[in-house]
Symmetry: C2
Subunit: 351 residues, 2 copies
């Protein structure tokens, strides 16, 4: 009988943050690809477009005119999915027809005045400014809202409706599913082991080394053991922060460095501006700010859709939607590929 080898033999892996399993089928990388091929991400974005509502000095749908900003710029989303001032549904005692109140606020944060730059080609100082702005937004919004979700949808493959470098910030009066589930699993782990799950995890990954993509003094990027998307990564801190707002200047500088490195590696993987959704998770805020949150560890998450090339993505469809997420290459294989890539961006190689 053969010995089990994770890189050859299908198996399932457990995600201890969510209580879910993922199916890993590494032998499937061998199949030829005959599925849908995507358009290559556009490369010819103009630096300034007078029709683009995210550009400096342009009039937005709301009628407001953007300032001629020279660094970052934050403003309320003109088509928000979450409004602050809406009536609440009345209570129902039928367990099958439960509605709840949802209040919130949606903001947009532009990273840079130019439409044709992305985080990996921005300077460390420019990225550091984005981090400062993220933390300021967190600080303000977390006074009022229980959850503040900062996220970046990058690339049209991720439904991003605007090429200008920006992220969104959706704040809500409720804990969204992902937050609630991660809160629960981290809490249970802490109760059992008296240590935060992700601090235990990052220490073990630093020892094991096989899933580390890049690290610096304060941060480690790993392809998590339970990664769902082919090149999914997590940015984990080496010391325990519960929230984005816990970071000191030195950690922020160092975070800018690690963001530049991981996003550069991503672009270098298929020599294309790499699409992804990314975001930050930390302890709940608002009315939950005073609750004990020692089980929470602040971290970043990248969910990139590409699988085989710049034009072949992973589809989370039939089996994934109806049964369980499935991946082809192993997290260790993905980490190795990303680890071996340069931290010099392919467009800046000759500079």
């Amino acid at each position: 009988i053969m010995d089990f080898r994770a890189e050859d033999h299908q198996h399932i892996r457990y995600n201890p943050l969510k209580g879910e399993w993922i199916l890993v089928s590494p032998h499937r990388m061998k199949r030829p690809w005959s599925g849908q091929v995507e358009d290559v991400t556009e490369d010819d974005v103009p630096e300034f477009d007078p029709q683009n509502p995210l550009c400096p000095g342009v009039k937005r749908a709301s009628g407001e005119v953007n300032p001629k900003y020279e660094s970052t710029f934050a403003f309320p989303n003109d088509f928000p999915a979450l409004l602050d001032d809406v009536p609440s549904p009345s209570e129902s005692d039928d367990p099958l027809f439960q509605m709840g109140s949802a209040k919130g606020h949606c903001r947009v944060l532009c990273f840079h005045p130019k439409s044709n730059v992305t985080l990996p080609v921005m300077t460390l100082q420019e990225i550091r400014t984005v981090i400062d702005r993220w933390i300021e937004e967190m600080q303000t919004l977390s006074e009022k809202f229980d959850w503040v979700q900062i996220f970046e949808n990058k690339g049209s493959m991720m439904g991003c409706s605007n090429p200008h470098p920006h992220c969104q910030i959706w704040s809500s009066s409720f804990l969204p599913n992902e937050a609630r589930i991660k809160d629960q699993y981290q809490r249970e782990y802490f109760q059992k082991y008296n240590k935060p799950l992700l601090m235990d995890y990052v220490k073990k990954e630093i020892n094991k080394k096989e899933r580390i993509v890049v690290e610096n003094c304060h941060w480690v990027v790993v392809v998590p053991f339970w990664a769902t998307w082919p090149f999914e990564t997590m940015i984990l801190p080496k010391e325990h922060f519960k929230r984005f707002t816990d970071l000191k200047n030195i950690h922020k500088d160092s975070l800018a460095d690690i963001i530049k490195k991981i996003t550069t590696k991503y672009d270098n993987l298929f020599r294309v501006s790499f699409p992804y959704s990314m975001g930050w998770h930390g302890a709940p805020t608002g009315s939950k700010m005073k609750e004990d949150a020692n089980h929470w560890v602040f971290h970043g998450i990248y969910y990139p859709p590409l699988l085989r090339s710049a034009t072949v993505k992973k589809f989370m469809v039939g089996y994934e939607l109806l049964a369980q997420a499935q991946r082809d290459l192993t997290p260790e294989q993905a980490a190795e590929r990303l680890r071996n890539l340069s931290t010099v961006h392919y467009k800046q190689e000759n500079k």
Copy 2:
């Protein structure tokens, strides 16, 4: 202060099958669309393509030659994500690095010898034959496997790598996440109310009427109260079946009728071959066949990605992946639109 109206005011809704919430933001339908536009699903598929491994008489990657089948045809997937004969990982006592054994089998079932037909344009008798074959496959595979997932990925938007009408059947030694979660929530409901959750649900929907799309003697199609995808639907039985294999001939005929109706309405919505992932869920099988399964109700699920038109889909990205699923139009609005559509297919209108 305004009265709450679900069709105007954002709120969250509870999915009692999964313990999850969904954010409904109906006011967001008003925003202009500036995001990615998809290609229209191809319409010019040839009836027969000698290069297509799903066509009758064609040689597949395995070297096998398909029979010149005249109705349905089932065979083992040549590039299976699940294999039956693989070594199992050894046990780990580290809660953060848990792997489990996964064995399984993947099959493909062609619905029809012609590549250029789809379920809605097939005859009732042809659809009935597909149902018979689904049930035969379930019967055989459920002897050995704890979960048998029949699913159809339709359209290149759903990563479908072949236009020939077909579905896949992935069987596994383990209960996938979706099955495990639905098992748990249905079980808890049954313990509390002594009735199957979905039988209670279907009765209430029949009374309420507002989310019904189409019904016949034995089946009801609803946009569930907790629908995630814009035009998501469920096929629910009017009497209690636990598994696909419980259906009698009369229910199978009637299921063919309801499948033809819902898929026809889907195609008529944007006058295009409507992409979706769909599949069937019923009580676990294999080693779980002898366990009590009264809490389970057999049902079908359609997850279609389109939102506004044949080329504008809903992206489940940043906020959805990192926080919570979000929808624009309400389930009641979606049901009304589908309900008002003809059950005569737009391509067969003049016949």
